[in-house]
Each structure stands twice: as C-alpha cells, then as structure tokens.
C-alpha cells in the first residue's frame, strides 16, 4: 500500500509540472493573440486602399494584364499552404492540411499537375514524411509574419505564374496556370476556419465604391500609363493578399494554441484532483491497516499475558 501511495504522489507531481507548462503556454498565446489581432487590424488600411486602387483601375480603364487573364489551358496549378511552425495548437495543423488535401484532390481530379509551396515547419514535416515533392518551403515566422516574407513568397509565386505566360521559348521552368492559397481564417477566439481560395489569376471585383447613377465617372489620370500602373499595382495586391493570409493564420494559430492549452490545463487539474483522491484513499487504507495490525498485536499480547497468569 505504501508503495502505491508514493507512486500516486509522483504522478501528481508530474501532472502538476505539466500543468505549469501548459498554463504558461496558454498565457503566452493569449497575450500574443491580441498582438496578432492588432497587427492584422493595422495591415487592413493598406489592403483596403490597394483594393480600392485596383478596382478603380479595373473600373475606369480597359487594360488587360497578365495577372488577371485566364490562361487558355490550365493543366498546372500551384498551391501555397500556410501552416504553423510549432505544434501544440490542437487541431490547427491537421485541419489546414486536411483542407489542402481536399483542394489537391479536386485539382487532381481535373487532371492538373500540382506544385506545392509551403510555409511553416508543420506542413514541411507532413510532406517530407510522406515523401511528396515540395517546390519551396519558408519557415520560421508563422506566429509573427513580416511583410518581407510575404514579399518573398509573393515574388516566387508570381514568377512561377508569369513563367507560364512567357512560355513558348526554351523555358525549362514550367509555369503554373493558377495559384491557390490555403490558410486559416480567423473568425473569433473560438472559431478559426481553414479556407482555400484562388489567388491567381486575379478576380478583380469592380466598383469598390460604385458610382452614383447621375454622377459623371471621374476620368482617372494614370501616370505614367494605365498599363504601367497596373503592372506595379497587381503584384503588390497579390503580396498584400498573401500578407493578409499570413496575419490571419498567425492569429488563428495562436488562438488555437490558447484553446488547446486551456483544455490541457483543465485536464491536468482534473487529473490532479482524481489522483489526490486515490492517494488519500490509499493513505487512509494504509492507516486503517496499520491500526488494525497494532490492535491485533496488542490483543494477541494481552491474550498471551492473560494465559500466563
């Protein structure tokens, strides 16, 4: 009995230290998620102004651009999966990878060759373990993405897409005809949902601010030219979309981690309570046994002395 009591006490101590760790992670995630939300909010004006500018160009000019035109044939697709660097975030990684799997399945059923681009170590590990080819991986920023990384990723994806446009010559690097983006959208502290959307070719939503019926359409001056403006504008638009996805994913990851760690802490508390009860029971049983042994011993002694007299 005494042995198992010691065992229970050791188990309680181990659960207690686990609880301390999960509690700390929960608090860290909680403070970071607020920061991540603020960053996402701070980046919103840039995205909003860019969208406004893009739709202004789309509405007031009729210039076509390589990034907005549908390719004639789409037999090669690229997919960027935004995953986390670290685990312990509940179902965050698995649900985003599942969403990516679904998209891959759909693209495959359309007979497309797929190039996979990944951000985050979890996604990298997933693909490496299954020995699937990955074109490029970026890691090390999933909870605090910077614009520089989005710039780099955007640059790579646009290059892959444009390579397809410039095909015909001796192009060794096959270009992709569409680019998809899979990331986790942050809806609230409790709800984060994985989404897949098509990044390229761009679908420009016209008329961000639809003109009034009797209002004369403002004639935009483009400097140097509409084509040039679009040329500069669209890559930035793409990068800003990617940056936005990163920020959303970061907030989602931290929220998911906080939730997972909170339930881990709760579970640890539950376990400690349970083990404490069992340990107390064991201790009481031990005491009871000792008393009955002593009483038994005293009685036996008393009987023995009584017999002598």
């Amino acid at each position: 009995m005494a042995v198992s009591l010691r065992e229970y006490r050791a188990r309680i101590r181990s659960v207690e230290s686990t609880k301390k760790i999960t509690r700390a992670m929960e608090l860290i995630a909680a403070s970071r998620v607020v920061k991540a939300q603020q960053r996402a909010a701070a980046a919103a004006p840039y995205a909003r102004e860019l969208t406004r500018a893009v739709s202004a160009v789309a509405t007031y000019s009729n210039v076509d651009h390589a990034l907005t035109t549908e390719p004639d044939r789409g037999d090669r697709a690229a997919i960027l999966i935004v995953t986390s660097d670290r685990g312990l975030a509940g179902a965050y990684s698995s649900s985003i990878l599942k969403e990516a799997e679904r998209l891959l399945e759909r693209l495959r059923s359309e007979d497309k060759t797929i190039d996979v681009y990944i951000t985050g170590r979890k996604g990298e590990a997933y693909y490496k373990f299954r020995q699937r080819p990955v074109v490029k991986v970026w890691t090390g920023f999933s909870d605090q993405p910077t614009y520089e990384v989005a710039d780099e990723v955007g640059e790579a994806l646009i290059a892959a897409f444009m390579a397809g446009e410039a095909e015909g010559g001796a192009n060794i690097f096959p270009g992709v005809d569409e680019v998809h983006l899979v990331y986790t959208r942050y809806k609230s502290m409790l709800v984060q949902e994985p989404v897949a959307l098509r990044l390229l070719p761009l679908e420009v939503v016209e008329g961000e601010a639809p003109p009034e019926k009797d209002e004369v359409l403002p004639l935009y001056e483009f400097e140097p030219s509409a084509a040039e403006v679009l040329d500069q504008l669209l890559p930035r638009y793409v990068k800003s979309r990617i940056f936005f996805a990163f920020l959303q994913a970061a907030a989602s990851e931290l929220a998911a981690r906080q939730k997972a760690m909170k339930s881990a802490t709760d579970n640890a508390e539950e376990l400690i309570k349970k083990y404490t009860r069992i340990a107390n029971q064991a201790r009481q049983a031990g005491i009871t046994q000792e008393i009955s042994e002593i009483v038994g011993g005293v009685n036996a002694l008393a009987d023995a002395t009584a017999g002598h007299d």
Binding site: A42, A53, A56, Y220, E221, Q232, R236, F243
Partner: protein, 130 residues
C-alpha cells in the same frame, strides 16, 4: 480654405498618418507632383523618395517612402508604400550607415541602387524636418 484633402499615408503593416491637408507633394516616376484640393482623379506610380504634406493647421511634415502608389479621387489622397517612415521616426545615423553600406556594395546592382535611393530618401526626409 473651404476644401481640404483627406490624406492617408499607408505602409504595408500600418497606417502611418492620416488627416486633413492643404497640399501634398510626392515624387512619381514622371517627377514631383503637387496635389491641391479638387485635383483630378489620378493614379500614379511613386518612386523611393520624400512625401511632403502641408496640413490644414499650417504644419508641414515629411516622410520617407519606398516605391508605391499615389491615388487621388474626390479630395482623398492615399499614398501606399510597402515601407514608410515619418521624419521623426528616422534614425539619421542608421540611415547614413545604410547609405554607406549600400554604396560600398556596388551601385551598379539593381538592389544596391534601390537601397541607396531608399537610404537617401530617409536622410533627405530627416534633414528637411530638422
């Protein structure tokens, strides 16, 4: 002045400045443009340089911006840039060092000359303000 411009200077990761202004000067690929209230709608590509804004209170502030956009419509001016710094945020020492480093790394390379332009813009902005 009855009319004023509603100005927003936006970097990729934050809103740097927003407010009312009488006049905005920015550098586009075609040269400097000055924008006064009731300017015709315009979309222009800007280069690394300095943005100069005269607010309705009669104050002037300058900011260094990287290449980006300027859009004007209905007295709303927005300046978009991947990176933008107000003059008081600029570390002049650091900008000077960046400039030297960029120059040393070979001004012929595209990237290096871009870095040179960016550093120069920051120094100009900081010096103008002081």
């Amino acid at each position: 002045m009855a009319d004023s411009l509603r100005v927003e200077l936006v970097a990729a990761d934050r809103l740097v400045w927003s407010g009312e202004a009488q006049r905005v000067i920015a550098r586009t690929t075609e040269g400097d443009v000055g924008i006064l209230p009731n300017h015709a709608p315009m979309l222009a590509v800007t280069v690394d340089g300095v943005v100069d804004v005269l607010t309705t209170d009669g104050e002037t502030w300058v900011a260094a911006v990287d290449a980006g956009f300027l859009s004007v419509a209905h007295n709303r001016v927005s300046i978009l840039s991947e990176r933008a710094e107000m003059s008081h945020e600029i570390d002049l020492e650091k900008a000077r060092k960046d400039l030297e480093r960029a120059k040393a790394s070979g001004a012929n390379e595209d990237e290096a000359s871009e870095a040179v332009r960016q550093a120069e813009a920051r120094i100009r902005a900081a010096e103008r303000a002081s």
